[in-house]
């Protein structure tokens, strides 16, 4: 303090100006450090590791040339893993969108206590994720144990492996994801629908809209913004499957232990000990993730960084 005061007496304006750091940077510092350490840092590290060897336990950067990339891309499990995720997305995204919107519209067709109760019932399974979700569905898909035993038997299933295997995996993971994730989105859409003005709905009814036309022509367009947002989140979440196939594989041996790219990457690192090849798969997933998210963001013009302050 004393030093500062004397300096300010000597050169009052200049040094005061030079010493002043915009406090915004102090606020931001912890965030930027965390970003560097836990996101950009690992991403850059992964880029470096693609070209590194691990001869003496420590990474030898730029020793490997392109051998890691060739090794990883030649892996017979890599392409099928991406195909698996793609097949899963083709099933899960339309299924999720259609039924989330349908249920939200049906609940809102007559918003009363029953609707609110059902909304809560759809919502509660959101508490079940990861290993608990896998466990629950290993039971639910097991024709001997399942609470839907009668239905599974009726459909001709007698064994868990008939219901859960590499071929059915996209449907299995879709149902699991829907069970755990749909309720939250239904509640979001329901909330958005409640924001639609009474006058608009009354006017539409006056004009002779029946409930189905009302839902499709008036309500649905007003929630498309939320649909785009859901799409971004669901895509990002679904590409990253790890816990579900990994646990299905280890706890029931129904699904391949290299089902998803994350599992392939994991096997390279911890099964085989080739961190370079593992990094290649990680970088590949990052690239695909970025490209997909960028495409969705551009297509929906979702985020704009220039903020106009709402008065």
């Amino acid at each position: 303090m004393a030093v500062q005061t004397s300096a300010m007496v000597n050169a009052p304006i200049r040094s005061a100006k030079r010493l002043r750091v915009n406090p915004a940077y102090l606020f931001l510092l912890p965030y930027l450090v965390a970003m560097l350490l836990f996101s950009l840092g690992p991403a850059i590290y992964a880029l470096l590791l693609m070209f590194a060897t691990f001869k003496v336990g420590r990474p030898q950067f730029f020793e490997a040339g392109f051998t890691n990339i060739v090794t990883a891309l030649k892996d017979p499990y890599l392409l099928p893993a991406f195909e698996n995720v793609l097949r899963f997305l083709v099933v899960s995204v339309p299924f999720g969108l259609v039924f989330v919107i349908l249920l939200a519209l049906l609940l809102h067709a007559r918003p009363n206590r029953f609707s609110l109760l059902m909304r809560t019932i759809y919502f509660l399974p959101g508490a079940v994720t990861g290993p608990a979700l896998v466990m629950l569905f290993l039971f639910t898909f097991n024709p001997d144990l399942s609470v839907f035993r009668a239905l599974l038997h009726f459909m001709g299933y007698t064994d868990l492996k008939q219901v859960v295997n590499n071929d059915t995996a996209p449907v299995v993971f879709t149902l699991m994801g829907f069970f755990g994730g749909a309720g939250g989105w239904i509640a979001v859409f329901f909330g958005a629908l409640q924001g639609i003005s009474e006058e608009l709905i009354e006017a539409a009814i006056m004009d002779g809209c029946n409930p189905i036309q009302l839902a499709w022509l008036i309500k649905r367009p007003l929630i498309t913004r939320y649909v785009a947002f859901m799409l971004i989140n669901v895509l990002a979440g679904n590409v990253q499957l790890f816990a579900e196939p990994q646990l299905m594989s280890s706890a029931s041996a129904t699904i391949s232990n290299e089902w998803s790219p994350n599992l392939v990457s994991y096997t390279w690192a911890f099964g085989i000990g080739n961190f370079g090849a593992s990094a290649v798969v990680s970088v590949l997933m990052m690239l695909i993730g970025i490209v997909c998210a960028y495409a969705v963001i551009r297509a929906t013009n979702f985020y704009s960084t220039e903020q106009t302050n709402a008065e």
């Binding site: 606020f27 836990f38 919502f123 509660l124 608990a132 144990l145 029946n210 785009a228």
Partner: protein, 316 residues
């Protein structure tokens, strides 16, 4: 327009009318639509609720009975079997289940505290202050938000390995300090809700930037803090991939890792639990350990979940 007002018709006797004609008491739906709506809603309701009911009663049963096709999948056994299942679970190690629960609680609470302490001021600054590089920070936030989190897990492992934090709980807690989505949400929240005049008034009264944040930004940010707390809690409580890679000593496991170990116990894989009486009721009880606390929070925090999910979409 006198013709627009129609007299209310007396109740129609013919039941067919109920099926086809639109009933104002059913929000204009006719009988077919009304019944169809109920059937669809209830069918989906069964899909969502039945597995949970099954899970809640599973620990009351004996595992052999559960495979008995003559018994209903929903038959309930004596409640005391809950204790039997708990004792069976307690047989592995020194009550590992308790250790895992305690671990889960402190990993989760630290993660929540850390991510909020960093995200909220950052979002606030991005929303209310002008400085060089603001656009850059916004873009970096969006880009890192897009980076698939699970693709970062293995590079993160190698990084933690460099600083010898592997097998240390901090390797799981520290990464939650970086929450770009939380920053984005609080940025949106503050830029929409914080009145600029209030900040200007605070400045006139002699508040510095820190005091402005502490006295105005924080109290007005209670909603977004609660929302972020919920989202981070949920993410950290259920975190599986990161701890799976970072922690390999069973004393440091969180509940998800513990449940996974339980599941593998009788799956024929060589784990430390293999010889123990861990069957369906015990696994179900373990699952309930992980689910029930979150479900209770879900019941009470429904509006925060909804707000949290929707918040990213409300910016006009």
């Amino acid at each position: 327009m006198q013709t627009a007002i129609k007299p209310i018709k007396p109740p129609v006797v013919n039941p067919l009318r109920y099926i086809i004609s639109r009933n104002p008491r059913w929000n204009g739906m006719n009988g077919v639509e009304m019944v169809g709506r109920l059937v669809i809603l209830l069918l989906f309701g069964a899909f969502f609720v039945m597995p949970l009911v099954w899970l809640a009663i599973a620990p009351t049963r004996v595992w052999r009975d559960m495979y008995d096709l003559n018994q209903s999948p929903l038959s309930i056994g004596p409640l005391s079997n809950y204790i039997v299942a708990w004792n069976n679970i307690a047989m592995f190690g020194q009550s590992l289940m308790v250790t895992w629960t305690i671990n889960s609680i402190w990993y989760t609470l630290s993660s929540v505290f850390l991510s909020i302490a960093i995200s909220i001021p950052t979002g606030y600054v991005l929303a209310v202050m002008k400085f060089r590089g603001r656009q850059l920070v916004m873009w970096l936030t969006l880009i890192t938000m897009i980076l698939p989190g699970s693709a970062m897990v293995l590079p993160l492992f190698l990084e933690m390995n460099l600083v010898r934090l592997v097998n240390n709980p901090w390797s799981v807690i520290l990464p939650s300090a970086f929450a770009p989505f939380g920053v984005w949400l609080s940025y949106v929240y503050y830029s929409v809700t914080l009145p600029k005049d209030l900040l200007a008034a605070g400045k006139v009264d002699g508040c510095n930037e820190w005091q402005l944040f502490w006295n105005i930004g924080m109290p007005l940010g209670r909603t977004i803090i609660a929302t972020l707390a919920f989202l981070t809690f949920n993410g950290a409580w259920n975190n599986y991939f990161l701890p799976f890679v970072m922690l390999n000593q069973k004393e440091t496991f969180n509940l998800p890792l513990g449940i996974a170990a339980l599941m593998n116990a009788t799956a024929g894989s060589p784990t430390f639990l293999r010889e123990l009486p861990i069957n369906e009721p015990e696994k179900a009880l373990g699952g309930l350990f992980m689910i029930v606390p979150v479900m209770i929070i879900f019941l009470f925090a429904q509006k925060y979940v909804v707000r949290g999910l929707a918040a990213g979409a409300v910016k006009e």
